[in-house]
Point group: C2
């Protein structure tokens, strides 16, 4: 294993120390328990948005703390869920009195710990809701997941909900918006290579020089199919068609009901994409794939969308939700409405995402 | 070779087609000869800034075309200099009547072709100056270079000179500023792995699982030393000390003298860094190294600078000047003055760099 690290056990902490040194104007880092928070938090009267999950997916989430996006992010060890005390202390640190939204990717450990944190925070008098992201069309049920995994749509939800919070939306409105972003977002990824978790020191899985993994998970979880290497146009076609042709997807999730004061099972259905839809097209690097290749993916993606009568009106291309140094990419298509477009275009100023602010 | 490409010979063109499709609001692409230009160019009365070089270093240069940075970029084939006709046609496309600055990295092919383009453009009545960047302290003379190679400082010069052009500086002022940025910028890089040029299909060089290349060039040119893998703190210490302890570096470059109407040999000296200097610290990914590792590099870099009495007042961390999917990083330290800081902070809006605009 060759990585720019010292001891594997210091990887997350030292990376956060570097972030804190580089971006003291934007963020602060608390180390025990570990969370990154907006330097100006709490902001009175603003809903606080918090996310978190295993490390190794940077810039998600720690790189997205700041104006117009997250108030705090709770990083676990690499590919390991953060703990409820991280989420609880982050909530207490950034609570501006208007409530807190936890944005949670659909992995069993994350869900369990964010639900526990929700209950702990409520017991301490904070108003907290949590919304799941489960946008990966590749597989249903996976190594760490019941139902679909949460991937690229998470970033889009953080940006759009972060802008809404900045503009004074209340907690219920932001939770509804977050759920809507999730219901209209779909993703699928592909790996050319594995990554190596520092503490393990060997690749998470083996792929030969002629193989790829279609539908890869962001922790190297198996996808739909291991197959021989294909051209980028063929790969993009498979990912894009899988997303576009994905039928209505129905499942039940647990959401906190504030009126009843209990967890309820809520049925959610992702409506399929339709001709005429306006889309945000997101081509994401898994970490080790250069911009030049992402743009070749985007070229074919745009061509397919045009053929299908789908109109790409916004796009995002680069490394945003990664798997350490894994080579590969994911595509996310989010059906936009006017409100989402307005919020997408709003200013953002974080360590890793910065425009118009 | 596993890459997200179709045919190797279509790599550059298809990547540019993807960029054109994704960023039609910011850039346009001309294909014969190939150059990327700002959608609103020419801008009457504004000096036009043009750069270029081999592809494979994205986002440099094509990702930096737009408001507050480049007016045009001329991409060659992968790791291959662009041709004079690309540079000439780009100049004619974006000339707003206030002259053109070519920013040229110090590689023999680039210099030869940009000098020829300068003469051709002058013959057609354009006013053109060109300034070299030669900031890599690792080695003197290299595979494609006489003197030092041009690396990370190029990005900083493009940002600072681009802002100056936006603010109405004239051509002579911008050329002087660009020369000053080069004289105050120093870089050095390191590779953990080689990259693979698509048309070749095999790694440019071989490194074992326990070796690194200190002082790597951005085309895989040999550096100072091939050595055993070290901790990130040791690596950062070597790179940073090499930069900080670099003595005054004197050399002669060819610059066009407008008064005399001929090329003159000009002696330039990089003054060494001194205690109390204010710095821009740039930690760059060579393409395949994740953000988390870059921040661990930054952590040690900041510590060393503080010990040395050097004050980091701005930073840039991420993949900006890359070598396809190479794993590794480079560090650039630029001594700032008030004018450079003001220009650094100015708005920029390009496909790959976007803030405050």
């Amino acid at each position: 294993m060759k990585k720019l690290i010292n001891k594997p056990e210091d990887f997350v902490r030292e990376s956060l120390e570097g972030m804190a040194a580089a971006h003291a104007d934007l963020i602060k880092v608390n180390y025990d328990p570990t969370f990154v928070y907006r330097a100006t938090a709490p902001i009175p009267g603003k809903v606080a948005i918090i996310s978190g999950g295993g490390s190794g997916h940077e810039p998600m989430h720690v790189g997205f703390v700041g104006k117009g996006m997250l108030d705090a992010a709770c990083p676990g060890e690499v590919f390991t869920s953060p703990t409820p005390d991280q989420m609880l202390e982050a909530a207490k640190q950034v609570d501006g009195g208007a409530g807190i939204l936890y944005i949670v990717k659909n992995y069993s450990g994350d869900i369990m710990n964010f639900e526990m944190a929700t209950e702990l925070a409520r017991a301490e008098g904070n108003r907290v809701l949590n919304i799941l992201i489960d946008d990966d069309v590749a597989v249903k049920d996976s190594l760490y997941t019941q139902g679909r995994r949460g991937v690229g749509t998470t970033i889009l939800a953080e940006k759009i909900c972060g802008a809404a919070a900045e503009q004074g939306y209340d907690l219920t409105q932001i939770a509804d918006l977050c759920r809507r972003v999730n219901l209209h977002g779909r993703s699928m990824g592909i790996a050319l290579t594995s990554c190596t978790v520092p503490a393990k020191g060997t690749p998470t899985f083996e792929l030969s020089d002629r193989e790829i993994e279609l539908g890869i998970g962001i922790h190297g979880e198996p996808g739909r199919q291991r197959t021989e290497m294909k051209s980028v146009d063929e790969i993009t076609e498979i990912l894009t068609r899988s997303i576009i042709e994905d039928a209505a997807y129905s499942r039940t999730v647990r959401e906190w009901d504030e009126d009843k004061g209990e967890w309820l099972d809520v049925e959610l259905i992702n409506p399929p994409l339709q001709k005429g839809d306006r889309l945000l097209a997101f081509v994401n690097s898994m970490g080790g794939t250069p911009f030049s290749e992402l743009y070749i993916v985007y070229r074919k993606l745009a061509e397919i969308c045009e053929q299908q009568g789908l109109q790409i009106v916004r796009n995002l291309i680069g490394p945003y939700i990664t798997s350490l140094e894994m080579q590969g990419c994911s595509i996310t298509l989010l059906r936009l409405d006017d409100e989402m477009i307005r919020l997408w275009d709003a200013p953002v100023k974080t360590p890793s995402w910065h425009w118009g602010a």
